[in-house]
Symmetry: C2
Subunit: 192 residues, 2 copies
DNA sequence: CGATTTCTGTCACACCGTGCCACGAAGCGG
DNA sequence: CCGCTTCGTGGCACGGTGTGACAGAAATCG
């Protein structure tokens, strides 16, 4: 007997893998929702019970990272902002290292398909907001919120650039190192 | 007799205005492509000769800003990066001031519609790349490109935050001032 | 002017994303 | 273990999207 949560999670990852495979095989065309559904062993209708558009299936894992980040940040809530972000990146890296290939291939597919830039941009923006609230702290005034948004975008830029480099060479430097190096560029302005 | 360039431009802006109006009227529902086409006085088919998706019609003006930015930056090509960006922002502000309402309403519509966050994210990303290449200069090495991407995201964050504040109160401080203030946060790290 | 290129509307088509309904399997209190 | 409820699913139908193909009008060019 399988719990509902386990079942949902495994179906989601099966859909994700099927989608990434098919987006690779069909490039530059795109698979239909039905093909993805068939390969994952579910009906077309069910696909849209897991994601809003089929393109979202390429970013399932990066989307799940938000939860990891939340938990990680909560663990070190009373440390400086830079440490919190690094700790979050570290926990995410551990998750990636457990099985890097699907992540890498998903990000590659995403970066090549123009139609996906939009959906990936949406994930990106959610991350910016998340990091900005982390920097702003509770009840920020207008100026603090403004500054937090700017720094949030900058940190997201670090993560983006780090991921882009890591995707090209997954056997190279660990993702955390790349993020660490990127944050160095922001060191003069990144403080609580 | 109307030149082709003029004709295309006026059709595009007519589509943009029709779309913004209808997205406002129909909120939280969304107008169909056919309704937008009818109001703009063209066929549904023609809409998709101007934009890839109907949601793009809310950002027509921000998209056109890229051209203004390119021209402005070229004018002051030999000044420090901060001045170039400020000059670009200044030229864009002049364009906005000529007719601010459509811009403001478009951005408001865009910020409220979840489906649009994605498409707006795509525009956002094009801006990040554009600014990053401006910062990186010609033939950047890997480290320079990495740093440029980080700073590009940060600058985009400034513009984003400035636009968000300006949209809320268009009679408040001019957009250039808001961008200027935002760039102050990046001053310690923003140099050539 | 005629030849050519660009823009348009019409039509047809595959596909997307969603509401609705019925059914089976998981969860839960007794 | 048993009934009742809740959740996840497939099937179907439907309005809507975005695109290829084609033919005609309008501009550009020589």
């Amino acid at each position: 007997m399988v719990t509902r949560a386990e079942h949902r999670r495994s179906t989601l990852l099966r859909l994700s893998d099927a989608a990434v495979e098919l987006f690779e095989e069909r490039h530059p065309d795109r698979p239909t929702a039905e093909e993805i559904a068939d390969r994952a062993g579910v009906s077309r209708r069910t696909v849209f019970r897991y994601v809003e558009t089929k393109e979202d299936l390429a970013f399932i894992r990066p989307t799940l990272w938000l939860e990891i980040f939340d938990r990680a940040v909560a663990e070190v809530a009373d440390t400086p902002i830079r440490d919190r972000i690094l700790h979050g990146a570290h926990q995410i890296s551990l998750d990636i290292d457990a099985d890097p290939e699907p992540v890498r291939r998903g990000l590659l597919v995403a970066s090549r398909s123009p139609g996906m830039a939009g959906r990936y941009g949406a994930v990106n923006r959610r991350w910016v907001e998340r990091i900005a609230t982390e920097i702003a702290g509770p009840d920020p005034d207008a100026d603090t919120a403004f500054r937090a948004h700017v720094l949030g975008s900058a940190v997201m830029g670090v993560i983006d650039a780090a991921l882009a480099e890591w995707v090209e060479d997954p056997r190279g430097r660990p993702l955390v190192d790349l993020v660490d190096r990127g944050l160095d560029h922001l060191a003069p302005i990144l403080h609580d």
